[in-house]
């Protein structure tokens, strides 16, 4: 198990290096540079930056320099925001994105497992049909459409009751995170519902569920003790990619709901070709995702003893 984790970490580091290099290359292939922006950059900053990052030097030298700084944990200073270190931007805004992401992942997983199990339980009857209809909507409708409709919904609700029950946008209380998290997790939840449903149906036909029934266990006990844990395994597998979908999808939802998350900075930085912020946020997100996927692999081992004890 330890060897397995070490191997995964090694591959993860290689992946992060690859992400950094690819981003660096693509970024420099885009015409223009961050200092040729309409946002006025005064000559002192320009001189400072050019000296520190060697924008006048050949690209390969810049690459080596950048990688060296990154290894030391220094992502540099933003080109467009005066004297603001990328590290500070990440430190300040990532927690916002992370809490939104965690909340929406929580919604997606709990919702997916619950709805999927329910649909399987009522297979081919109306609750199953209703859930699967919503699932198809959830998968096919993009998150910005959900975001707009949910804002409209909140607005109508607030007007109808005459009070501010939920905030339409912004980031100041826990309640302002609820709807964005739900919108953000929608497609993942829909996908997990489908997966959970088919997985539950598969498990329901296994020999060991027949054994559990032959033991005289109640349907409820079979469901919780035997079916759920085995059916959840394939759902756990998609948690890694689900985290990727949720963090990347976060950019859109963050801008619709005016949430000061890291995603917004990322989008801004790309528009303004802010080299250091693009690199910093991309590498950071990349590293985060790689770590999450490894964490999911380890979690998988805890749920399935065959993996933990090295049988597979």
């Amino acid at each position: 198990m330890l060897l397995y984790i070490l191997k995964r970490l090694g591959i993860g580091i290689f992946t992060i290096w690859f992400i950094a290099t690819a981003t660096f290359t693509v970024m420099h292939l885009v015409p223009g540079d961050p200092l040729a922006n309409d946002k006025a950059v005064n000559p002192t900053i320009r001189a400072n930056l050019e000296r520190q990052y060697g924008l006048d030097r050949p690209v390969f030298e810049q690459y080596v320099l950048y990688m060296g700084n990154m290894l030391k944990g220094d992502f540099g200073i933003s080109f467009t925001e005066e004297n603001r270190a990328v590290n500070d931007i990440i430190r300040e805004h990532f927690p916002v994105s992370a809490s939104l992401g965690v909340l929406s992942l929580f919604f997606a997983t709990i919702g997916g497992v619950l709805w999927g199990a329910l649909a399987a339980l009522y297979r081919n009857r109306w609750p199953d049909a209703a859930i699967m209809l919503v699932v198809i909507l959830g998968i096919s409708v993009p998150s910005f459409v959900f975001a707009a409709f949910s804002q409209l919904g909140i607005l109508t609700l607030n007007q109808w009751t005459g009070r501010s029950i939920l905030p339409v946008a912004g980031w100041d209380s826990f309640s302002s995170a609820l709807v964005p998290a739900l919108v953000l997790g929608m497609s993942t939840m829909a996908y997990m519902t489908r997966l959970m449903r088919s997985s539950m149906l598969e498990v329901a036909n296994t020999d060991y569920i027949r054994t559990a029934r032959a033991k005289g266990l109640s349907a409820l006990r079979i469901f919780f003790r035997h079916q759920l844990r085995n059916a959840i395994l394939p759902v756990i597998t998609v948690l890694g990619p689900a985290i990727a979908i949720i963090t990347t999808g976060g950019f859109v939802v963050e801008s619709v709901f005016a949430i000061p998350g890291l995603g917004r900075y990322f989008v801004q930085a790309v528009a303004q070709l802010d080299y250091t912020v693009i690199m910093g946020t991309t590498v950071f997100f990349g590293a985060f995702l790689v770590l999450m996927v490894i964490a999911v692999d380890i979690l998988y081992g805890f749920i399935d003893p065959r993996i933990r004890l090295g049988a597979l």
Binding site: D207, T211, L217, R306, A311
Partner: protein, 340 residues
Amino acid sequence: MMTHDYALQVDNLAVEFDTYGGVVQAVRDVSFKLRKGKTLAIVGESGCGKSVTVQSLMGLIPMPPGRITRGSARLGNDELIGIAPAALNAIRGKRIGMIFQDPMSALNPTMTIGRQIAETLVVHRGLSASAARAEVIELLRLTQISQPEKRLDQYPFEFSGGMLQRAMIALSIACKPEVLIADEPTTALDVTIQAQILLLLQELQSSHGLSIILITHDLGVVARMAHDVAVMYAGQVVESGLVDDIFYRSAHPYTLGLRAAMPSNDPRKRQLQIIPGSPPDLFAPPPGCGFADRCAQAMRVCRDTPPPAYGHTHQARCWLQDPLAPASPVTSLMVNNKAD
């Protein structure tokens, strides 16, 4: 014999399945009696309805598409067919234990062996976790699993097939059931393990007074284990009786065919005897005897009218048993009955 001499009595059971191709009549009017403390073997080829018969008694066939259209099954004095799920759950695992063909897949892969066995004790006998654990160790010892204290915390994938079947037996007898149903318990195991498992079942039968229904297609297993035998063909019991009746006084051509198909050590019989043809389509069972098309002795009546069951303790559903039938290779039950 009086009713209370039987652990389980099944009468006129019929089971159907709805499929896309139509309704399959998997079990057609099956009756048998299981004597207390004895082993009844239900024998027949694949698809003859032997597994469906016992699974329908246990409420284990999926409904829908399956349904029990007729019949009754009494465990002691209690009816099993058509009772409420809670009542059935109080019987399953407690008064009837069951073991299955493939031990590798019959246990939950994400739960330790010990907890799976303890679960029945907790549910049916209300034992505490620690009391159940102590009892599980005893059960594993009883089924001859070495180092039970260590083994009970292991998962099914850490057991061999034979060990898993022992654990399965421990699970099924945990609540000291009256009846044990063994659905092809040794088919998935190799021959030496098979012999050990059969021996274990025999030992448990004598120590616990178990009544066993043994489902198999292996006549060697029948000869070794059974007191009574029911031969099934195309969803019906075609012949039933004491094990010696079935082997030495076969009263149905199908039983004779099965016996001839057994491999032997005789060097003169180089090739296995087979029964020509295949079982009838159970979507539309033939009007007469289901075996008529494969039977060398078939008469005109066999194809038109289903044969009644002839005989008493040794029964056969075959027109050859009729007083008007010509002489044939099957043992005549009329002669036997006179001798009774």
